[in-house]
Chain length 354, copies 3
């Protein structure tokens, strides 16, 4: 990026205090920003940085009252956080536009693939027979798109993603590097001689519109039918979604979660990092599951869960506080027990008729 | 796939009730099956679907007694689940046959590699110097096969697998996309200045016959000698196997498990998802470890383990039930303690000679 | 490798007892070593192997006293473990030298990339516009190096690593296969209609000198500024580092750890496998966190932590011992409670005025 303070102020509908001709090349966090960079102050607790930042320009709230003279150039805006998001989006869409390089001569595109308008496909990528790629989608470098795969419009598929045969991706999806869509579900028949016979997995994965999937995620194809990720759901990195799972709309799942086979998850749930969810259960809507929890049985709506196995988060916290003194509690119990047993015996001795 | 009901019935040795000329294009789960699809009923609790399914044909047990007229075409078989597995295997072997495309001109095969008969190698794959690929093995697209790697017969290596120098894979193995075999073990010597000196890892990974490895798994090469996965073992996705580990025969390990360095695992154990196993321990045979457990010390045979650190599963469950009321237990203990201490004091007051 | 016993003894400054003309082709662990292999004995408890090993030569301490005649050839050295490390390093540097194949004609190198002296780049690798690769760095096969990426001198980047735009890697770094550097941080703005709006992530990842990163790791780029891994830190496989995280110097982190967003970690900490660390906290220096722990709040210096949520390791262990008898403790408490309540009532009955 390269923007003058004047251009920035215009873009963010802000008012300049200082030199509008200065140029900035990068956004940084207020505590790290250097000459040539701009930074935002969202929160008055960072106002102190105004007076000694090395940033070329700061975007601050119009309500900030200055207590000392300021050397850096300020741009005052209505809501700095919204301005921040606006600027990020401007830069991001510029970057995406620059990625529209058309179709590399070093890619392999099957003659039987259907490629939409404005599609970009990077070097050493493969789009196999009967695959469909929607308009304006960007398939980056070294990507594998299998046979009969459908990818919608306006998607962004990062380098070294693998989407295997028959899987479907909706519109406006983003899939990050190293992610594998459509690996075989983990299905084996135990035999009498202790070996396992593979149960072939001939279903697929269906990813609806507006889904974002992080890096090095794995989503297994179903045995038959589809493993399903519904619209608007966001998955972080290194997540495992097993075969036959259904994840509803607008879920947010943090890194390293794992969902075992055939589980159904409703809409608008949030999962912390490293959460494990058992197979063949139902989790309805609007639940929140704390990091590292293990959900072992079905869950209704609007629950807050914690622990492994997971329970109501408040209950977990109360019990966990007690766990922190458990050794002490134990000692108290054994002391009491000794004392009572002794006294009780003493009592018996004293009152043998009791 | 494309099969007529007549062909299906012949394949599955079943009897048709309805129109044998109809064609089906896909298998689906009974609750989702549509026109042009077939579905199976394994269990009488799904019998109700017989009367209102949109599936073109249903494969049902010969023992199903119909209570109403049926519109869909039925195929009655001895054991629908075995018929299901049979059909999956037919479709799967058809798919595999279609993948036998020979050796891509866009692959890089070292002149010093030995490639067996009937081998397929996909676009942008690399088979490096002195590597050996057994007969009928399929190496899919964008795979990396390092120097001196041996791959047996009839293997299926999915796109973007990495098998690094000197590693060995047996016959009939399946390795899914994104998996890395032979990355360096995590070995460092702590130095006095708090830095770490790398301990080079010059061993390899040996994978025996009939092993299946999921997507985005990592198996590190040993320092010297071999990290070993014995025959028939099945690993799910995102598993980590550290250096010098030995995993015995016919183990099944669910996704996101991690085995720390130099641990030995015997035969026919089952590990739930996200299990962690400490380094330098022995786990013998026929054990089952529940999801998210942490096995911190050696384990004998035939155990059921749960918890982190793991203990006998029954013991864990009993204790965990108590944990759910721990805050309450704690309060009771403190109340009792107050009461007893007070009474005891009262007693002392009453019987000062005690 | 191929070395005569004479060459080995010279290399390790050792004294031969036996036939110096013999040749060895591999190092193995003492318990597995075969003819043509060499093995080391670091510890006197392995001395028994001296008398029946099939190894062609054993490297042993100069202090070993033989109790029986020995058939294998011995090389006596001052410190067998240091000799072992020396030999590993010799073999490793030989291997690395063999990897210096120059720049493959099958790689795509942008004309606007700056490639240092002695650089190797493998088949189907990509080095994009304005990327810089330092002298003597080896970029292996099928690697993706994005625009404006900087990679220092003497690095080793294994097959199928992805380093996305704008990220920086220092000197002497090793990055293993399947690792993704610079995927988007997981940042979304929750909207009133339950959907999430993406917060673009326009920062980068900065990796300092002497860092080693395992296989299938993900390190997300920051929203603005840098996700930072400082010098000398070693990361094992399948680790997730979220956006805006800062990991200090000389940390060692075992496989499958996850660090949530914006957390700062100081220097010289050790993390066991599958540890989770919450977002927006500070962990200072010289701490050790046991495997599977969950660090939920900030941590000072020199702590040993265990549990999820994590607490002082000694406290955890004491409490966990009590947890193992919790069902029993619970029963005791209820029994005591019944007893006391009854007795107390009895007392009341006896002394109604109390």
């Amino acid at each position: 990026m390269k923007l003058s303070v004047n251009e920035l102020a215009k873009l963010l509908d802000g008012e300049i205090e200082g030199d509008g001709a200065l140029e900035v090349y990068n956004i940084n966090r207020i505590e790290n920003a250097q000459n040539g960079e701009l930074a935002f102050i969202f929160d008055s607790k960072f106002d102190k940085f105004i007076y000694n930042t090395k940033a070329t320009t700061l975007i601050v709230s119009k309500d900030v009252v200055l207590s000392e003279p300021v050397e850096t150039t300020l741009i005052r805006v209505e809501n700095p956080y919204f301005s921040f998001l606006k600027l990020l989006n401007v830069i991001d869409s510029e970057k995406r536009k620059n990625r529209k390089n058309g179709i590399s001569e070093l890619a392999y595109i099957s003659k039987e693939a259907k490629i939409g308008k404005g599609v970009s496909i990077g070097h050493y990528s493969i789009v196999n027979d009967n695959a469909t790629v929607g308009d304006e989608t960007i398939i980056r470098e070294q990507v594998y798109i299998g046979e009969n795969v459908h990818i919608g419009k306006n998607c962004l598929i990062y380098p070294q993603v693998v989407i295997l045969d028959d899987c479907r991706v909706g519109d406006n999806c983003i899939i990050h590097s190293g992610t594998v869509i459509g690996s075989d579900g983990f299905g084996f028949l135990p035999m009498n001689d202790n070996t396992y016979q593979k149960i072939p997995q001939i279903g697929n994965v269906v990813i609806e519109n507006n889904v974002e999937i992080g890096a090095n995620v794995t989503i297994d194809r179903s045995t038959v039918g589809s493993t399903l990720i519904k619209q608007g759901t966001k998955l972080d990195n290194l997540i495992h979604i097993a075969h036959n799972v259904e994840v509803g709309k607008n879920n947010a799942m943090a890194a390293q979660c794992g969902i075992a086979g055939s589980t159904k998850i409703g809409d608008h749930n949030m999962f912390g990092g490293q959460v494990g969810i058992a197979g063949h259960i139902n989790i309805k809507n609007n639940n929140q599951v704390a990091a590292q929890s293990g959900v072992a049985s079905s869950v209704g709506d609007n629950e807050l869960l914690m622990g492994s196995p997971a329970m109501d988060a408040k209950l977990f916290k109360r019990n966990f506080i007690a766990f922190k003194e458990l050794a002490e509690i134990r000692n108290k119990v054994y002391n009491l027990d000794n004392l009572i047993t002794k006294n009780y015996k003493n009592d018996k001795t004293k009152n043998p008729k009791k």
